[in-house]
């Protein structure tokens, strides 16, 4: 676990990847924030708090912030893996190097990250006034009918992203000697 954290830290200490992390996190957060307030009158955070309560609003923003940060980390280490490994690989043997998209493990990590993002996206909405993403699917008030009004979706998103970030970092703890 420490090793994977240190790998993430070392990747983020590099300017290029830190910028990527920062930009991805900010964009994600603003998209989620925007979607959350989309159906609220005047798109006002104050009205959102009045309708859903302070605790719910605080938890919503906190969890969406965590999701955005995790997504940023995921994007940065994914970019590191794809660009750095590919840059250094021999073109003749490129197919055998870190083609994470082709392996079962890579597919699982990617799928989990994607699901995490989708769960975060679905959870971005206001349970009392509607969710724009669920509205597109034909269930505008879906969050209202969930037992924890969408907080469970945010938690699921965090869990999935945590695992994809962890396993993605774990997948490049060394450069393999191919047989």
């Amino acid at each position: 676990m420490l090793r994977e954290l240190e790998i993430i830290k070392q990747v983020l200490l590099r300017k290029k990847y830190f910028l990527l992390f920062l930009i991805s996190s900010l964009i994600t957060f603003f998209v989620f924030y925007f979607l959350t307030l989309w159906e609220v009158t005047d798109k006002s955070l104050k009205i959102f708090i009045e309708m859903n309560g302070y605790n719910y609003a605080f938890l919503t923003l906190l969890l969406l912030g965590i999701i955005a940060l995790l997504l940023g980390v995921y994007v940065a280490i994914f970019a590191f893996k794809t660009s750095e490994f590919r840059e250094n690989s021999d073109s003749v043997q490129k197919s055998s190097i870190s083609d994470i998209k082709l392996t079962r493990r890579g597919k699982l990590i990617g799928f989990s990250g994607f699901l995490g993002f989708i769960a975060g996206l679905l959870s971005s909405g206001c349970p009392m006034c509607g969710s724009v993403i669920f509205a597109l699917l034909g269930f505008p008030l879906a969050l209202f009918f969930l037992p924890f009004k969408g907080l469970e979706l945010r938690l699921l998103s965090i869990i999935l992203l945590l695992f994809s970030v962890y396993f993605l970092a774990k997948s490049f703890v060394r450069c393999e000697l191919k047989k």
Binding site: N88, I97, S171, C175, L177
Partner: protein
């Protein structure tokens, strides 16, 4: 059972299954062998003169080895008098021009600038074309004519191959691989884990 509770249970069960599948599909390369391997320190000068020998098998073109570098620097600073650190070449065939980079590091060693060259190689990691290797040499003030002749003639090819062979015999399957007082540690090592090993 209430419908909502069922949904939540199914939901968490699905997460547990997903986590288990992922856990078992990711192999852990840190299967450090308990056995002590008698391995030579190679051809390059040691950093430090302490009693604990750290031998690293590394590849200048390996991104993980590059990530490891700042941590090794920190360890060297903190344990300078307790450790002696040795570098051994293990250029992976899957990495572009990494064998040339290994040869170039031996040529730099001939002019007693191995560690300086080593640092610049990692700093310029990417495509190790001959032009880049020569530019780094000239940046360090090496005798470029001698360096180029050494590189062109592959003077230290045998030396690099010897490193590779010994590494393979000692069970090196990738880079970085460390032998600390003969015990093998595979893959990236965090600062904490190195501190734990070094005590």
């Amino acid at each position: 059972m209430e419908k909502n509770t069922k949904v939540i249970l199914i939901f968490f069960l699905a997460i547990v299954i997903l986590v288990l599948v992922m856990y078992f599909s990711v192999t852990n390369p840190n299967d450090n062998k308990e056995e002590i391997v008698n391995i030579s320190t190679g051809f390059f000068p040691a950093l430090g003169s302490g009693e604990i020998k750290i031998i690293e098998f590394s590849d200048f073109a390996c991104p993980v080895c590059k990530l490891q570098e700042p941590i090794l620097k920190q360890v060297s600073e903190e344990y300078g008098d307790k450790i002696s650190f040795y570098y051994r070449n293990f250029p992976l065939p899957s990495h572009k021009n990494s064998f040339d980079a290994a040869l170039a590091s031996s040529c730099a060693n001939e002019q007693e600038k191995f560690w300086e060259y080593h640092d610049l190689l990692f700093g310029n990691q990417g495509n190790f074309e001959k032009e880049l290797l020569e530019r780094i040499a000239s940046q360090l003030g090496l005798n470029t004519q001698e360096f180029n002749e050494c590189l062109d003639s592959e003077k230290y090819k045998e030396q690099v191959n010897e490193d590779l062979d010994e590494g393979k015999k000692a069970g090196v399957r990738g880079t970085p691989t460390f032998f600390i007082d003969g015990k093998r540690y595979e893959g990236f090592q965090s600062l904490e884990s190195l501190k734990n090993i070094l005590g």
